[in-house]
């Protein structure tokens, strides 16, 4: 009998405890969902279209993607050549996939004619010695500046381990670093393709 009583008490306790946990979870869920609704707001096709049209008009003021791509390639080529010639680092090894295209992301992911490019501009085998790091950054900064990029922003800085970022006014970036190997890469901001830029008018996403 005592054993049965213990089982009964134990069961009652478990149910009570489970109920409490369940109530806590449901309350948290309700609060969380209300918070989410509050921060997410309600979207509409019209509003999305307005956002994308505004973005398109803004992007019309930027150079088209073909121009930007040529500019980046010229910049990377110049950086690679000067680092090899002036700093004496090993010859650059091209990446198997040097260019990767993406959408502009976020609320303008589906913007017709909007695109970005990511670049893996090569690897120079081996570490770029600390004694030459500042000289190398100065060269990259000088070339990058000619292509509209600002001063270097230090991302990582330690013995035999460095990485700096340069940004331009279109939210593009150049990434330069060294560790076991020396890397060069980056990505453009959002630009219109040559075709969309020539067209000059916003096309809403096709609705079926």
């Amino acid at each position: 009998m005592a054993h049965s009583g213990n089982v009964l008490m134990s069961t009652v306790f478990r149910v009570t405890r489970a109920s409490r946990v369940s109530m806590v979870r449901v309350t948290r869920a309700a609060i969380g969902i209300i918070a989410l609704v509050a921060i997410a707001g309600c979207g509409s096709t019209e509003r999305e279209n307005d956002t994308m049209k505004d973005a398109f008009d803004g992007l019309m003021k930027r150079p088209n993607l073909t121009v930007v791509e040529a500019d980046y390639q010229a910049m990377f080529e110049s950086i690679r050549e000067r680092l090899t010639a002036e700093v004496g680092i090993a010859e650059w090894v091209p990446d198997a996939e040097p260019i990767h295209g993406t959408s502009c992301g976020g609320k303008i992911s589906n913007l017709d004619g909007g695109a970005m490019r990511l670049y893996n501009a090569g690897v120079s085998p081996g570490n770029l010695p600390d004694a030459k790091w500042d000289q190398a950054v100065a060269i990259v900064a000088e070339v990058a500046k000619q292509h509209g990029f600002g001063a270097p922003e230090v991302f990582i800085n330690g013995p035999s381990d460095h990485e700096v970022l340069f940004h331009d006014t279109y939210y593009g970036q150049v990434l330069f670093g060294t560790g076991y190997n020396t890397i060069l890469g980056g990505g453009t901001g959002c630009h219109l393709t040559e075709e969309a830029h020539r067209r000059g008018t916003y096309l809403p996403p096709h609705r079926y």
Partner: protein, 497 residues
């Protein structure tokens, strides 16, 4: 006997006149059709018998028909078709050879047997074995003639799944456009506007799926390597998985599972961009951190389940974000996909799972089974589907959690306790920080993200932390417990978990 005649004839016919080859091919095709007709007639006869006869004798006869005679006739018809195709190929090859070098006999062997169908309910390992058992020509034949066999078949080579799914995009688009036109025509004649038949909702779904195919095709047309690893139009919303890089050969592979309201039409492109950036960052970090320079990275955006939505779904226990039902369903799809990565590859990859929001619950539930995953990064999680990190089938110290400030979802703790309080989980930061290594003097500066939806922002602390885990150098991550005021409220009640 028949097959022996055919094989002998084929051998003798090598080098024969092309018109003779073509005539024999046509004859064999006609024979194949006749065998197929016999099978159809016999099938009808058995069906008629079943309509007016019952008992054990009929059962025996039906079994004999279904298990022996019918498959034999189908096989014979297929064999005749294969021989006919071989003769046509031989004829075509001979025409080319005649124009090049006067008609020497080509030596390329032709396929004699049609590819076997895949195992009905095969595991990823079974599927991998089946796919490898086919010759290269048979694999090409499957991709060309039966892409639906392998497009979503976990364990099959990802390169070949990509080819099959790209072919299926066209097939699916044609089918959906036809369906759209039919529904539009029906609705035009319907006085209720489809409210009584639900055709209006069906039309919305079909239109959305066609738009999703547009989005997928746009991504596949972008520069750089992509693989379409999953394509499924059989649900309310489209499901797909797209890889940046080559999942079959990359040294590091990361699979991202997004959460609530994620879908192919509206959010896949955004996630693809973020996964492209993670791929680039991880690859760069890998090159800087490893003496070997050849490490490659592939990232996958996996939308292989129907994620919870806003609206009335919130009140539906089977579809609500407050319930783990959808996450369980997603995990059931995710587990074979992950196992398929190991099964399809010749060499093991370093495999990382990234789970955001409700996707972290899906990922947490999946990891309670064997998946082949080496590391996992959860971020902004309402719970991992468990209260104990030990339930995840990972080596100790390989589960990471990131929680940003002002992320209310990260403090919910409704689908398992708040991971911020989970013992044994490794923490990584989302905050702005300048970290100085006291030993080396190394300085690292990172940008903060706040809220629930910014963890993947380029150059942020959280993105960097994910990329170093993906790259296999997690010791380079920036630590932060991620605890704020919300975590005080979400502290689990001792003894209740």
């Amino acid at each position: 006997m028949g097959m022996q005649w055919v094989r002998g004839s084929v051998s003798e016919l090598l080098g024969a006149r092309t018109d003779v080859l073509d005539r024999n091919a046509e004859s064999l095709s006609a024979d194949a059709r006749r065998v197929q007709d016999i099978r159809t007639l016999a099938h009808r006869a058995v069906a008629e018998l079943q309509a007016g006869w019952n008992g054990s004798d009929l059962m025996h006869l039906t079994q004999q028909w279904e298990q022996q005679a019918s498959p034999l006739l189908a096989g014979a018809s297929a064999s005749l078709d294969t021989c006919a195709a071989q003769l046509r190929a031989q004829s075509a090859a001979q025409r080319v050879a005649s124009s090049n070098d006067g008609g020497s006999i080509p030596t390329t062997p032709m396929p004699l047997t049609p590819p076997a169908a895949p195992p009905a309910r095969g595991s990823p390992a079974d599927n991998a074995t089946w796919w490898r058992s086919l010759s290269a020509q048979q694999q090409e034949q499957v991709i060309r003639e039966h892409p639906d066999w392998i497009g979503n078949r976990d364990g099959v080579s990802f390169t070949d799944r990509d080819l099959a799914n790209r072919a299926l995009l066209t097939v699916d688009r044609d089918r959906l456009v036809t369906e759209k036109e039919r529904l539009e025509a029906d609705l035009a004649d319907n006085w209720s506007g489809g409210a009584l038949t639900n055709d209006d909702a069906a039309l919305d779904q079909v239109r959305d799926k066609v738009a999703s195919i547009d989005g997928i095709e746009a991504l596949l047309a972008s520069p750089g390597e992509r693989q379409l690893l999953l394509l499924d139009m059989g649900h309310e919303r489209a499901q797909a998985a797209i890889a940046n890089g080559n999942v079959e050969t990359a040294d590091n592979v990361a699979v991202f599972v997004p959460g609530m309201t994620s879908n192919v039409t509206d959010t896949l492109k955004d996630y693809d961009k973020e996964m492209s950036q993670i791929q680039q960052r991880a690859q760069m970090e890998s090159w800087r951190a490893h003496p070997a320079q050849a490490a490659t990275t592939a990232t996958v955006t996996w939308i292989g389940y129907q994620t919870p939505e806003w609206g009335l779904d919130l009140l539906n226990p089977d579809r609500s974000v407050a319930s783990d039902t959808t996450a369980k369903s997603g995990a059931a799809q995710l587990v074979p996909f992950l196992r398929g990565i190991g099964a399809a590859r010749d060499q093991d990859a370093h495999l990382t799972l990234l789970g955001h929001s409700y996707g972290s619950t899906t990922a947490g539930l999946a990891l309670q089974q064997e998946t082949g995953v080496d590391d996992v990064v959860f971020f902004g999680s309402p719970g991992l589907g468990t209260n104990h990190v030990q339930d995840l089938k990972l080596a100790p110290g390989h589960a990471y959690y990131i929680e940003a400030r002002q992320d209310p979802v990260g403090d919910l703790g409704i689908l398992g306790i708040d991971p911020s309080h989970m013992g044994g989980i490794e923490h990584a930061s989302a905050r702005e920080s300048t970290v100085v290594d006291p030993v080396t003097g190394e300085t690292r500066h990172f940008k903060e993200v706040t809220g629930h939806s910014s963890y993947l922002v380029d150059n942020s602390t959280s993105q960097y932390n994910m990329s170093v885990v993906v790259a296999g150098v997690p010791d380079r991550r920036v630590y932060d417990s991620g605890e704020g005021i919300g975590d005080v409220l979400s502290w689990p009640i001792p003894g209740t978990y």
